[in-house]
Symmetry: C2
Subunit: 275 residues, 2 copies
């Protein structure tokens, strides 16, 4: 998917919502465990069918599937395939935080883009250029590089300042733009970072930002929009737990849909000035 296509989807659906599929077998409605052969996949497809009209992206979190071994891995593949075939306008982000030396990142790229057929993968920047570049060989596929994350540990290294007062996340933003344009690269910026979005936009005015941390992690959508939105929206705001675990009765998918709808309606208002 190109940047323009993503923006068209955002305008058409009046939403920049990404639904995070952090599917944890301990948190899904227990009746699914009794009734379904593959409860993770059954949960995901119900959530996807219920929320697809309110969002433009899905973000399965690889860790949750890997924790179930082969069965989890299969559920991840099937989930991505389900979205791809039934909802081809959805932008699928494999949230995997990969990154290694060149010949190894090449293999992660094969996994994400050829095997899984995701549109994008999240990548960690610590190992630098040759750990990132192999993902860029795929036209219309995206990397989403960690810049300033939503967690408490983001304070440990990401804010370290050099002699000129430039912080690590700023260096990541600047350096990485030597490797790819905003047509193939996005950044992860946590919703918990509030006014820092204005700082991010100094370095990356045109990039899309993937924004986790709204909802369960406490980030504010209004703040993210205020400081982070650009003329092509430039935001994919992710919500996982607040949508998919809103309810664990038989009505879980219905409740997930209404939580997604609430966010979409709020987003529609913010998008009015762009559309």
């Amino acid at each position: 998917m190109t940047k323009q296509e993503l923006f068209e989807n955002i305008k058409r659906k009046k939403s920049f919502l990404c639904v995070g599929l952090d599917t944890d077998i301990k948190k899904i409605p227990s009746f699914l465990l009794d009734e379904e052969e593959d409860p993770i996949y059954a949960f995901n497809t119900a959530i996807i069918d219920a929320t697809a009209k309110y969002c433009v992206a899905y973000k399965p979190n690889s860790a949750f599937y890997e924790s179930h071994g082969i069965e989890g891995y299969k559920a991840l593949q099937k989930t991505i395939e389900y979205i791809r075939i039934k909802y081809p306008d959805q932008f699928i982000i494999l949230d995997a935080k990969r990154g290694d030396i060149g010949n190894t990142s090449e293999m992660y790229a094969v996994s994400a883009f050829e095997d899984m057929k995701a549109n994008a993968i999240t990548v960690a920047p610590y190992m630098g250029e040759d750990s990132v570049k192999p993902f860029l060989k795929y036209p219309k596929k995206w990397i989403i590089l960690l810049a300033l994350t939503s967690n408490k540990g983001s304070l440990d290294f990401q804010l370290i300042e050099d002699k000129n007062g430039e912080r690590l996340f700023e260096k990541v933003l600047k350096k990485s733009q030597e490797w790819a344009t905003d047509e193939q690269m996005m950044y992860v910026v946590g919703a918990t970072q509030g006014e820092m979005f204005a700082e991010i936009r100094k370095y990356a005015p045109n990039h899309f930002l993937l924004v986790p941390g709204v909802g369960a992690q406490g980030g504010s959508l209004a703040e993210v929009v205020k400081y982070g939105m650009n003329s092509q929206c430039g935001l994919l705001v992710n919500s996982s737990r607040a949508i998919i675990y809103a309810d664990n009765t038989v009505d879980f998918a219905y409740t997930a849909a209404s939580e997604a709808k609430k966010l979409q309606e709020e987003m529609a208002v913010y998008l009015e000035k762009l559309i």
Copy 2:
């Protein structure tokens, strides 16, 4: 495995060699593709049987398996199980460079330590404390944190200096020691870094270092030992391509064994002063 047990294995086997299982179906002997139902697993088990007496650790590189989807994932699981059962004194490192917010790193830990049953996992530090700590809940299991890697991209961020001249990798070494001791944490330091090992030892005198980059990437074992060895050896030197792809005829396992043996014999000399 405890640090003491690992050191005992090193002394007994006169080796601190780790064999990297970066198994690429395009590089393994072609007759395996014709003859074997699972050529990756067949290759790995032959390599393992041939090299086990010369090494103390194996490091399957998750990316290579993930690139083959479900079949690759199964081959990875079976390979780890094969080592665990047949060679229980081998230290098994799942080289996966994981790391995410706390609830997600918890899932990666389940995958590495409960599902795969590896002894250790490599972890990327960018997201800080809460991305690392969930891996530390498992007694006798290890995290191996990226500090100063072997690739060209290590120059992009890892050497950034703060106002006091302290570099990012030094901050990672210092900060991470607030989270775990040298009984549960090692660091990745690339063999290509030569004299930098002396710098690393200022901050981590007692830690084991996992050292990739000897062989194909050009690092020197003599330099690594000169600047990096401590009184409990403190080194696991990895070689992947130079051992496992030394030969692609029917003699591949035999040749891999002799390459491993060469390294082991060199290591035995370096270990003499410790044993």
